[in-house]
Amino acid sequence: MNEPMDFLIWTKGTAFNIAVTIFVIGVILRLFEVISLGRKQNLAEARGTEFGPGMKTILTRSIPDLGTFRRQPLTVVTGYMFHIGLFISLFLFVPHIELFRATFGISWPGLPTPIVDAAAVLAIVGLLAGLWHRIMNPVMQKITTWEDWLVWALTFLPILTGYLAYHRLVNPYPVILGLHILSVEALMIAFPFTKLMHTFTVFLSRWYNGAMNGRRGVES
């Protein structure tokens, strides 16, 4: 009779401890690695500056470019839907903020729940559309690796289970809340070792791209 609660307590206790340890060690280690390796030294004569173009690229790559949008509208639209939806439901839902406060000691204001709820739906639709695109598009098929499927599933499950838990669509409640927490823990454990790391390196790599092009004197 107590199993659902035993499960929830385990996910909120032991399992979370393991996941957060792997996540924190892994992310810091990977960041050190990425930053200390830097880029290969470019021995060619510089034709322009690095810093300015680097900063500019951080900005330009964050805004969809018309050419890409014309060729792959779905990639751009679903990408934005998902990322914005995920950001809002992960960082602006008050129970999550309380978790960040207890775990990392930092907090910030949240949003009303109907907005977070809508954001979660946006993220779910975005992810599903992205998956459909990945399956149907021949180019996407060719460049998709097993890691992409894994990362998709690891990202999708927390949002789906979170939505189900919030709306109490699975009974008893501790089961779905526990599954939600467990799916996040799986994500945290895989995080440092997969392309999920782009969450931390995205702006860094955009800067590198811009800086490399700037040095060559090319626009990016």
């Binding site: 009779m1 107590n2 659902p4 609660m5 035993d6 929830l8 307590i9 909120k12 206790g13 979370f16 401890n17 957060v20 340890t21 996540f23 924190v24 060690i25 892994g26 992310v27 810091i28 280690l29 960041l31 050190f32 690695e33 930053i35 200390s36 390796l37 830097g38 030294q41 008050v94 129970p95 999550h96 309380e98 978790l99 207890a102 775990t103 990392f104 000691g105 204001p109 949240g110 949003l111 009303p112 729940t113 109907p114 109490r168 009974n171 008893p172 409640y173 501790p174 809340l177």
Partner: protein, 363 residues
């Protein structure tokens, strides 16, 4: 022992008016989510209901559940129903003690074989039978014996329903719930620490009216009382949805009656009737008086995180784990960076410049 008078007789004897009785039936109907058209049928059935034999066993408990029931709404129809069904055996309430009490239990079991209702409060220690005995009989033995010929079993309170406080980590007595031991009988779990008195009498009224047990949820709790979460019926819910929270027990938010989530309210994971039925004759309930719900009607609520920590907060204090993991990450990262820098440095030193002439020569 079982007298032959009906509940109607007994209520009239106690001076309960027809009007008062119908009012109770109406309240019971709405409590049990039955349509108002059912009220006459309920009244009729209750009027005619004969006093069933009830044996109440108390094991590892604090008597809070009995207190909750006997101090409820008195003198109300609920308490009179309770008097009426009244108990052939109840350690705390009966006058008899020792052997006489055990004799009364055995007589009741014998006379009403297969028909009596067994009510249990408290958990059963499996660690060592000596942890809790009554007249030298272990709780386990008494439960097994008494359950054998019971028509139905009502586990009153979270201890009997799920193990409760005695079972809290590290569970020194090896406490278990009634359902952990009795598996071949219908068990109705009326959880809560203590359960709401009206919920106990409601279940009894249902039994008296329909002769059957109400529809149960996954935890064998009557759905009518435990079907909805505290959070979904909480009058502070609009504040939760708007993102307005009390941060301390005496800040402006607390005074304005904002949501208590951040102060540890477990309403979102708790299924009970507090928010609708309220306590003390409908006077108020914990959240209304400014304190978060503890989740007392759920299994293992003692171990499910600090009472004053938000529901989403991990159970153990993770700040230390994070600090250690961070330090380990930094140390490993610094070591990796050191190796990387050294390699890069060596590569740079080993670098030889090649001119066009060199290339031409070698080709």
């Amino acid at each position: 022992m079982a007298d032959k008078s009906t509940l109607g007789d007994s209520l009239r004897r106690h001076g309960v008016s027809r009007r008062g009785f119908l009012k109770f039936c109406t309240a019971t109907a709405s409590l049990m989510a039955l349509p108002p058209t059912m009220v006459p049928a309920i009244a009729q059935a209750l009027e005619k209901a004969r006093r069933p034999s009830v044996i109440w066993l108390s094991f590892q408990e604090c008597t809070g559940c009995t207190e909750s029931l006997t101090r409820s709404h008195s003198p109300s129809v609920e308490s009179l129903i309770f008097d009426h069904i009244s108990l052939d055996y109840h350690h705390t309430l009966q006058a008899a003690a020792g052997d006489a009490a055990e004799a009364a239990r055995e007589a009741a079991m014998h006379e009403n074989k297969g028909k009596y209702i067994l009510v249990v409060d408290g958990s059963i220690p499996l660690g060592d039978p000596g942890y809790s005995t009554i007249a030298g009989i272990s709780n386990l033995q008494m439960l097994e014996e008494t359950a054998k010929d019971a028509a139905a079993i009502i586990a009153v309170g979270t201890c009997a329903a799920f193990g409760g406080l005695p079972q809290a980590n590290p569970n020194p007595t090896g406490a278990v719930s009634v359902a952990d031991i009795i598996t071949d009988k219908p068990i109705i779990n009326v959880s809560g620490c203590p359960p709401i008195p009206t919920v106990i009498t409601g279940v009894l009224a249902h039994f008296l009216t329909f002769g059957s047990i109400p529809e149960l949820d996954q935890y064998n709790r009557p759905k009518v009382f435990y079907g909805q979460s505290i959070h979904d019926r909480c009058y502070r819910r609009p504040f939760y949805d708007k993102g307005l929270f009390a941060e301390t027990f005496d800040d402006e938010g607390a005074k304005a009656g904002w949501c208590l989530y951040k102060l540890g309210c477990k309403g979102p994971m708790t299924y009970n009737a507090c928010a609708t039925t309220k306590w003390n004759q409908g006077t108020s309930w914990p959240v209304e008086s400014g304190h978060g719900c503890l989740g007392c009607s759920e299994p293992r609520f003692w171990d499910a995180g600090g009472f004053y920590n938000a529901l989403s907060v991990p159970i153990s204090d993770n700040s230390q784990t994070v600090a250690f993991a961070g330090a380990a990450g930094l140390a490993l990262g610094a070591a990796a960076a050191g190796i990387n820098f050294k390699e890069k440095d060596a590569a740079q030193k080993a670098h030889e410049t090649v001119t066009i002439d060199d290339l031409e020569k070698s080709s």
